[in-house]
């Protein structure tokens, strides 16, 4: 209480300065890693875009290339994990959320095309990798609640699913062009189940709501393809022999 007590302890601002500088450094490091991740994801997405001009018989070759490209993503996500886990997860997650979401997207797409199988779960066309399986592929935890470290979130996964339904809707059309009339049926069933899933969620008025609402258009686009094929009798629908469609034959 003496008159010469200073207003402030210099340590206060020295500490704040350290914190701010550390923050800048973390941000810079993350920016660099995320940029590399974005490039790796873009390369994989480039390969993925070839699926639209690839007949189904040649999917295995494409999938092998995809798996190779995904290895690069896995390495970089590993680095990201190393840096990000030193910090509170939600302090910086906006820096990488978008790129990680896209990386998850490439993995589930590759998985859907029959890639990324293992001994327990062989690759198979039309397979949906769960969030946990995606986490295993990237070698990072998922949906962490009890400790503060890097992980893949439910939101990232769900957003990437909406990318998948939209990509598959495009694939349905192109499969027909390649003379593959079976694939649209697989896709149609998949997208419908996906849409039913999204309808179970209580969504807030946010980006996920917007994207989930759009899934119904992906369903419709594939339904239109299936309709065109059925109308022309280009597909046999097993187990639906009693529909009017079959009766008309």
């Amino acid at each position: 209480m003496s008159a010469d007590t200073p207003l402030l302890d210099p340590a206060i601002f020295a500490h704040l300065k350290d914190k701010l500088e550390e923050e800048t450094q973390v941000r810079d490091t993350l920016t660099q890693i995320v940029q590399r991740l974005e490039r790796a994801v873009a390369a994989t997405q480039g390969l993925l875009s070839r699926v639209h001009s690839t007949p189904r018989a040649r999917y295995p070759t494409l999938v092998a290339q995809l798996e190779e490209a995904i290895k690069e993503e896995v390495t970089i996500v590993g680095e990201l994990n190393g840096v990000a886990s030193q910090q509170p997860y939600y302090k910086y997650n906006s820096k990488w959320a978008r790129s990680v979401q896209n990386a998850i997207g490439t993995v589930i797409y590759c998985g859907w095309l029959g890639g990324l199988g293992n001994d327990a779960q062989p690759g198979e066309l039309g397979r949906l990798l769960t969030l946990e399986q995606v986490g295993e592929i990237f070698n990072v935890p998922t949906n962490l609640k009890d400790r503060d470290a890097f992980h893949l979130t439910i939101e990232e996964y769900l957003l990437s699913l909406t990318d998948l339904t939209s990509e598959l809707a495009r694939l349905a059309t192109n499969a027909v062009t390649h003379g593959d009339f079976e694939l649209p049926l697989t896709i149609s069933a998949f997208n419908k189940d996906m849409f039913a899933g999204f309808q179970l969620l209580n969504l807030k008025n946010d980006i996920l709501r917007k994207r989930a609402d759009a899934v119904k258009y992906d369903v419709k686009r594939v339904e239109d393809v299936v309709y065109d094929l059925s109308l022309r009798g280009l597909i046999k629908r097993p187990g639906e022999g009693d529909t009017e469609m079959a009766a008309a034959e």
């Binding site: 601002f13 914190k19 939600y90 949906l128 009890d146 189940d193 179970l200 209580n202």
Partner: protein, 258 residues
Amino acid sequence: MSSGVKRDRDGNARTKARQPAGPPGRFHDMFEGFRNELDEHHDRRERIIKASRDVTAQSKKIIFSLQRVKLLNQDAPPHIQQDIDTRLEEISKLLNGVAPDLQSINRYRYTSPLRCLEEFIEALSFAHYLRHQTLITHEQSQAAMPTNIILTPHDYMYGIFDLFGELMRFATITTAQTGELAGREGRNILEDIQELGCAFEMLPAVPTKDFRGKMSAGRQSVKKVEKLGYGLVVRGSERPKGWVPDMRDDAPEPVSPV
């Protein structure tokens, strides 16, 4: 597709057909899990937003009460102290209610719904300044938190940013009332706010709108108090010593000196 038909034609409520049209989709269970997780998240967020709004309101009222204090380095008058204590207790209840939602990984997850902490630190730091004429430290602020919510450096810094405005208002009111700048021998509020201003100027700039806005508001406050000091030297001699303007306890702030 009927939309929300719940009664038959006799007006009897229909038992809701709960079973879905077909078998549940392949991803039914997975999405149900996600739904539960997302609901938990949204509920937590709502609770925090509500508590935060109330804590902000209580903190603002504490600050209003503190602005009625007239003297530095003294205990606040009992009626003011009592008012503040009641409000602190209320804040303590509110924050304790959401503390479980803000542990571990969730502390930073809900940083933006928890903006009330800035306001609360502003109140704490202002009370601390009035009593001790020193700046509260981060550790002291954390110790003053009525619950086990971690105070981030960000909360602390942005709370202190807002202290500038309170110091300026306090300086303006007390100068008008007493005809001199509040303080004790060796240090008055003008020097204090200048020193605090310098400390912030020395910090590395954070490239956010929030930081720039607070910084410029802080500078404005420093300038206003500087003008007060200038006014006292230039015009102070025209006023008899001990002259007190006719002001009620809670009269509104005098016309801004700028």
